[in-house]
Symmetry: C2
Subunit: 253 residues, 2 copies
DNA sequence: CTTGACCTTGACGCAGCGTAAACCTTTATC
DNA sequence: GATAAAGGTTTACGCTGCGTCAAGGTCAAG
């Protein structure tokens, strides 16, 4: 039996446009074109289309599908296993997202009642004012780091416990920095733990964490003398060491 | 402090192009443009960007993000809950995909050894030849149904057990059709079970199941006398009843 | 004064089609 | 046999979220 576009479309449950597109990109060509220019598909094409749709269901790209079905030597099992891995990663990513959304909803809803939240925000503002007194009022003007963090803390409705935990983390970071620096190797285990904690610390106030931003921040620490002074007060040269550890941790260096 | 595009990009870990794009679509406009036409961002914009990036991490579309951050009356919690549902659906879908891929890999690898597979394919071909003798050789030419199925069965490396299970299902379907028809109501519970089993039966040989294709097939049953004869031999009018039940099941009617 | 780094505005490209526009062919009906 | 409906064709823009040139202006450093 032979099928026109519409017939085949109905048979397979896809649109006519899709069939034309598949013809256009060479994924599925009709067996012939009749005298009026109509696309005519035969049995072989129907079978092929079924295979294509199967792989498409698995969210495999059309390009990849072409490889799979056009090249009989193509290792289908390998391709599927590869794809399986991708799906797993996707799911892990989704799980992460869901956890974050849950947390955010939670902090919006329960967590801290609105009024207390306001008070708490003020409390944090005070903390930051102190910081600014210590390291100069310009620090805020220069990079806006604290303000950014404050904004995020507000956004996420960070709890008071979280805030304390975050402060504790920052103390740990200073201790670790000292110990790690003593090893002299930013790739050492302690130094890498330092970098990991620094990331954890960041994520408290930085829900939009990214490697690039983390790396950028590390570079900023070194570039800006106020930050350098802040981290170097623990150990001289500590800032650069921290940056190196972070860059190695991120796999950039 | 004020930032140029590059500065803000580094600070936030996104690209300059992205910032220009956000300006273009009105998601994040710079606080001002300097005399040379440079985009200058202020503190407020930094804060906004952090929020934008947070929502973007959650895979919320930029359009939606605009609503969330631009309209203070917008219910953020609701938006997040909605989004959470979407993420859940996505994950369920992913789980389905992964199961199918696993099955496919399994049938490729273990399942049936190649030689046996070949034999088995031949076995199925015989089955189909019989069908064709019964309902006329043209049935294959007309819609290619069986051939499509055979192709899929080959593709998925359907096991002999699956094949038997499928046959059993088709018997059940005939029995259910009789019972459901007696109720006279294609929306009845039995009729809907019939439709569900029909779907299950289809999915054995049809990995690329879609509502549209299912509905199309149902219509085809009624339109093609050979199929009509096949289903009507159990109960007169059974084919139309089956179609109606399926359409209701699919929420089309 | 010349680099080189940064800025600007276009404009194309990507995946996978949906959706018109403008026009022919086939099929069904009167 | 005429006509209208249904289906066919190609061409081409739109959508998302930017990456990636291209062609040119601006600015701080040497």
């Amino acid at each position: 039996m032979e099928y026109t576009v519409k017939k085949l479309a109905q048979l397979s449950g896809i649109s006519g446009r899709t069939l034309r597109y598949y013809d256009q990109i060479g994924l599925l060509k009709p067996s012939r074109i009749n005298s009026s220019g109509y696309r005519i598909y035969g049995q072989k094409e129907v079978d092929l289309l079924q295979q294509i749709l199967f792989y498409r269901e698995l969210e495999i790209g059309l390009e990849e599908i072409m490889n799979i079905i056009q090249d009989p030597h193509f290792n289908q099992t390998e391709a599927l296993k590869d794809h399986y891995k991708k799906l797993m990663q996707k799911r892990a990513h989704l799980d992460n997202l869901m956890a974050t959304v849950e947390k955010t909803i939670g902090s919006f809803e329960g967590g801290i009642p609105m009024q207390d939240k306001e008070k708490f925000a003020a409390f944090k503002e005070n903390m930051m004012d102190e910081n600014e007194k210590k390291y100069g009022i310009e620090i805020r003007e220069k990079y806006g780091e604290d303000t950014v963090n404050a904004s995020n803390a507000k956004l996420r409705g960070m709890s008071e416990e979280d805030f304390e935990a975050m402060n504790k983390l920052s103390e740990e970071i200073f201790l670790l920095l000292e110990q790690a620096f003593a090893t002299g190797d930013p790739a050492s285990e302690i130094a890498q733990e330092l970098a990991a904690k620094h990331k954890a610390w960041l994520m408290f106030s930085w829900p939009s964490y990214s490697k690039e931003a983390h790396a950028g921040l590390a570079e900023m620490y070194v570039a800006d003398e106020r930050f350098t002074a802040y981290y170097d007060k623990q150990v001289a040269g500590g800032t650069k060491f921290l940056r190196d550890a972070i860059l190695i941790y991120l796999g950039i260096k």
